[in-house]
């Protein structure tokens, strides 16, 4: 197997274990489309936010209403009292166009990802934690490893540990649906068709406030995610998510490990 060269044209010479990539093509493609959409949504979301950096709870709220809290930043509208002596330029037009367009692309990409994930057993195989990993012993071991900043082993480069699995499941099946739901709940037309979807959240201003907090959690996830990629070998992890495979020497190490098994 040492003669295996990445990019080899003789596909039949490659054993089945080496053919399966670290990340499948659908996972890789949807990952990068989602990355682009997320950055566009974040940028346009911040632009929309600065037109009214105040948050309320309930159905309605405006500058005459006491806010739940306000962000200590300048605003792009003169009607908002911010304490700053200047008003930022209005960027809401293109920001709203871009926010909804990237929202559509990420929702459709997410649907492809979930359908393929269920079909190919991606969630069961790669994201659902094992029963043993979910025990206090299993969890505390992984947490202790993280706290000691112990570098990831080779096996971990080919699989996710229990913390990764739980975090990815939380982001994919809780935070993403919640941010879409609270976003749609702000739409007056959607509210007319699905009033219960707004009432459950506590009102349209509550939906806006929750949308903000879920976005903050998603940004925190992004920071930790990118931080971990850097800590555990940026080149290899990026390579694996782009080409599907870590660097060749890691594959050889993996294969040697497997031969010993």
């Amino acid at each position: 197997m040492a003669d295996f060269v990445w990019g080899s044209t003789s596909a039949s010479a490659v054993p089945a274990t080496a053919v399966r990539p670290r990340h499948g093509a659908v996972v890789r493609a949807t990952h990068w489309i989602t990355t682009l959409c997320f950055l566009a949504l974040l940028l346009s979301g911040v632009e929309i936010l600065i037109s009214h950096p105040r948050f309320y709870w309930g159905e309605a709220g405006n500058v005459l209403t006491p806010p739940l809290f306000k962000l200590p930043i300048p605003a792009s509208r003169a009607t908002v009292p911010t304490g700053y002596g200047y008003v930022l330029p209005d960027q809401n037009g293109w920001s709203r166009y871009l926010h909804f367009q990237s929202g559509w692309v990420s929702v459709l990409t997410g649907l492809v990802y979930v359908v393929f994930g269920l079909y190919q057993g991606h969630f069961r195989r790669s994201l659902l934690p094992g029963r043993a990993d979910l025990s206090w012993r299993g969890l505390s071991t992984v947490i202790a490893q993280h706290l000691r900043l112990r570098p990831a082993s080779y096996e971990e480069a080919w699989s996710y540990n229990v913390l990764q699995r739980l975090t990815y499941l939380l982001v994919i099946f809780v935070l993403f649906p919640l941010v879409i739901w609270t976003g749609l709940a702000m739409s007056p037309a959607i509210a007319s068709a699905f009033p219960a979807a707004v009432a459950v959240l506590g009102g349209q201003q509550s939906a806006r406030t929750i949308h903000f907090f879920v976005s903050v959690l998603l940004v925190l996830f992004l920071l930790v995610h990118v931080g971990m990629v850097c800590l555990t070998g940026f080149r290899n992890r990026m390579r694996a998510m782009i080409t599907g495979r870590p660097a060749p020497h890691m594959e050889q190490d993996m294969e040697q490990d497997m031969e010993q098994v």
Partner: protein, 252 residues
Amino acid sequence: MSRLSRRKLITTGLAAAGGASGLAAAATLAQRYGLIPPDGGGLYGPGETLTYAAQRLLTRHSLAREFNPNQVSKPPFANEVAPLGDAFKRLQEGAFTDWRLTVDGMATRPASFKLAEVKSFPWRSQITHLACEEGWSYIAEWRGVPLSHILNLVGTLPQARYVVYRSIQPDWWESIDMADALHPQTLVAHSINGGELPVAFGGPLRLRVPRQLGYKSVKYITRLTITDSLKQFGKGLGSASPEGGYAWYAGI
């Protein structure tokens, strides 16, 4: 070329061809059923078309939520407007008695109603949410004549697809499709919270479209034009909003 990659090539080719013809069929269907917004071209056209088409299919007949009197915002917030022109001020000095609402375009009986006439028409009262695209909102009780009543009075032609409405303020005009124009909650509003509609809130007449954001509820309306195409209005993008960078459809 190995067998695997040939199969992959054929599958990918078939999927691409299927996807392309699917998109073409969807575009034709969307055009036929009026699901493409007037600003559906350009960089953000696909997203805008998806939003408008999806919301039209889901919300053609849905009613905007109505609230209890104890949920009315006190006091409501009047957004700033550009300084009002001389034409407005002259009418204001006469207590708006000479204010007129002209209805033209695709109507069998085009008409021009005086403010008193509009106020004498059967009205509807509703407590609805007005949300601005900036993020703030208020709840108020609006009273006004359903736009559908006025459209019936002038006899809308069957080929009508949009209603264009203009403010006395120059360069402030909008349009809505017939689903919103004939919607029972779309009002030519003349009262708010049990009193006259103050100038700051758009008085004497404001078009209230409660299933869209505040910027579609144009203040100081003087003219309605019924049409089958928005091409000949302004730059052909449907209203002043897309010309200023904002979406024509504001249901989200």
